[in-house]
C-alpha cells in the first residue's frame, strides 16, 4: 500500500465497473461522479480518449477506461457478464476466509443502475492540476477497507510488466478480488502533457 498508510489503517474506496470487470479507487482521489452527458469527439489523438466534456464550465478530457486498460483484450478473472465465475477452481481458501466482510452489498443504487444500464458515469479526478474524466459503466458502492487486506503486487510482477504502475494493490473481498487503481498514474507523463496542450487549444 502507499507509504502514508499503516497496516492498521482503513481507507474508503469506491467500487466501479468497466466492461466485465470491477475496480476500486480511493474516494479521496474522486472529485465528483456525474452521469455522462454529451461527450464531444476529438478528431484525432489517443484512441482511449472518448472526447471532451463540459464539467461546470471546464472543458475536460474523458478517458475511456475500457480502452485505456485494454479490457476488450482479455477477461481478468474469467467472470461472465452476470458476475459468475467461469472457473470455479479459482475460489481460494484465502478469499473465503477474508478477515472482514468487505464485499460490496447490493443496494438501491445498484438496482437503479441495473434498470438504467444505458446510463454511464464519469468519475472526475484532478490529475496534476488538470481535471480529467474517467468513463465507467457503473458505480457500485462505497466501502471501508482494511489496509492489511490490500495485497501489493510482488516486485517481480511490477518490474516485468510496466503497465501495473497504476495498480496500488489487490483488495481481498469475500466474493472476488478487486484491483485498486491509482488514477494519478494511469496516464503516462507524455499522455498528460498532450492532454494539457489539447486542453489549451479547445478551451
Amino acid at each position: 500500500m502507499e507509504n502514508e498508510y499503516t497496516e492498521k489503517d482503513k481507507i474508503s474506496i469506491i467500487v466501479f465497473e468497466v466492461g466485465w470487470e470491477q475496480f476500486a479507487i480511493e474516494l479521496l482521489e474522486v472529485k465528483e461522479i456525474i452521469q455522462a452527458g454529451q461527450i464531444r469527439r476529438l478528431p484525432k489523438g489517443f484512441d482511449f480518449i472518448e472526447g471532451i466534456f463540459n464539467y461546470r464550465g471546464d472543458i475536460i478530457h474523458v478517458i475511456n477506461l475500457k480502452k485505456k486498460l485494454r479490457l476488450d483484450d482479455y477477461n481478468l478473472y474469467g467472470f461472465d457478464n452476470n458476475g459468475s465465475n467461469k472457473n470455479t477452481s479459482n475460489n481460494t481458501t484465502s478469499e473465503k476466509n477474508a478477515p472482514e466482510k468487505n464485499a460490496p452489498e447490493k443496494n438501491d443504487s445498484d438496482i437503479e443502475s441495473n434498470e438504467n444500464s444505458h446510463v454511464k458515469f464519469i468519475i472526475v479526478a484532478n490529475i496534476n492540476d488538470t481535471n480529467i474524466g474517467f468513463y465507467v459503466d457503473r458505480v457500485q458502492n462505497v466501502v471501508h477497507v482494511n489496509v492489511k487486506d490490500i495485497i501489493r503486487l510482488s516486485p517481480i510482477f511490477q518490474t516485468s510488466i510496466s503497465v501495473v504502475d497504476y495498480i496500488k494493490g489487490i483488495i481481498k473481498f469475500e466474493d472476488k478480488p478487486r484491483i485498486l487503481i491509482n488514477l494519478n498514474k494511469i496516464l503516462s507523463e507524455t499522455e498528460q502533457t498532450t492532454i494539457k496542450k489539447e486542453k489549451v487549444n479547445v478551451s
Binding site: S12, L27, I33, N107, D108, F121, V139
Partner: protein
C-alpha cells in the same frame, strides 16, 4: 497537525445529541476544534460561507434541506470543500450518492472515538 494550527471543523446534524458527541471527540484533540454547528442544510450553507471551515461532518437525513443537496450546494460554492458524511446502517445508497457529489469519506453510526478521528486525520492530512 500542530497545536498552533488547529483544523477548524463544522458539524451539520439535526440531532443535538450527535452534535455534542462529535464536538466532544473533536475538541478533545490538540489538532482540531469545532468552530460551528448547524441543524439543517440551509443553516449549514450560511455558516459555511461565514466560517470557511477546513472540514465539515454532514448528516444525511435532516429536515428543511438534506445532506446530499447540502453537499452539492457547498461544493458548488467551494470546489475544495472537504466533507465527511455521518451515516447510519442501511444508508449505503445515500453514502454512494454523497460520494458522487464529492464527499470524501464516511463515518458510520454508531461510531467509536477512534473511528471519527481516523477519518478526520486521513482527510486533513491528505
Amino acid at each position: 497537525m500542530s497545536k498552533n494550527s488547529k483544523k477548524r471543523i463544522m458539524i451539520v446534524d439535526d440531532a443535538m445529541f450527535t452534535r455534542n458527541i462529535l464536538k466532544k471527540i473533536i475538541d478533545n484533540t490538540d489538532y482540531s476544534e469545532v468552530v460551528g454547528e448547524a441543524a439543517n442544510g440551509n443553516e449549514a450553507i450560511e455558516l459555511y460561507k461565514k466560517l470557511k471551515p477546513d472540514l465539515v461532518t454532514m448528516d444525511l437525513v435532516m429536515p428543511v434541506k438534506g445532506g446530499i443537496e447540502t453537499i452539492e450546494d457547498i461544493i458548488k460554492m467551494d470546489k475544495t470543500a472537504l466533507i465527511v458524511v455521518v451515516s447510519a446502517l442501511g444508508q449505503e445508497a445515500l453514502v454512494l450518492e454523497a460520494a458522487k457529489k464529492g464527499a470524501k469519506d464516511f463515518i458510520q453510526k454508531p461510531f467509536k472515538n477512534e473511528q471519527v478521528l481516523d477519518v478526520i486525520k486521513r482527510i486533513l492530512l491528505k
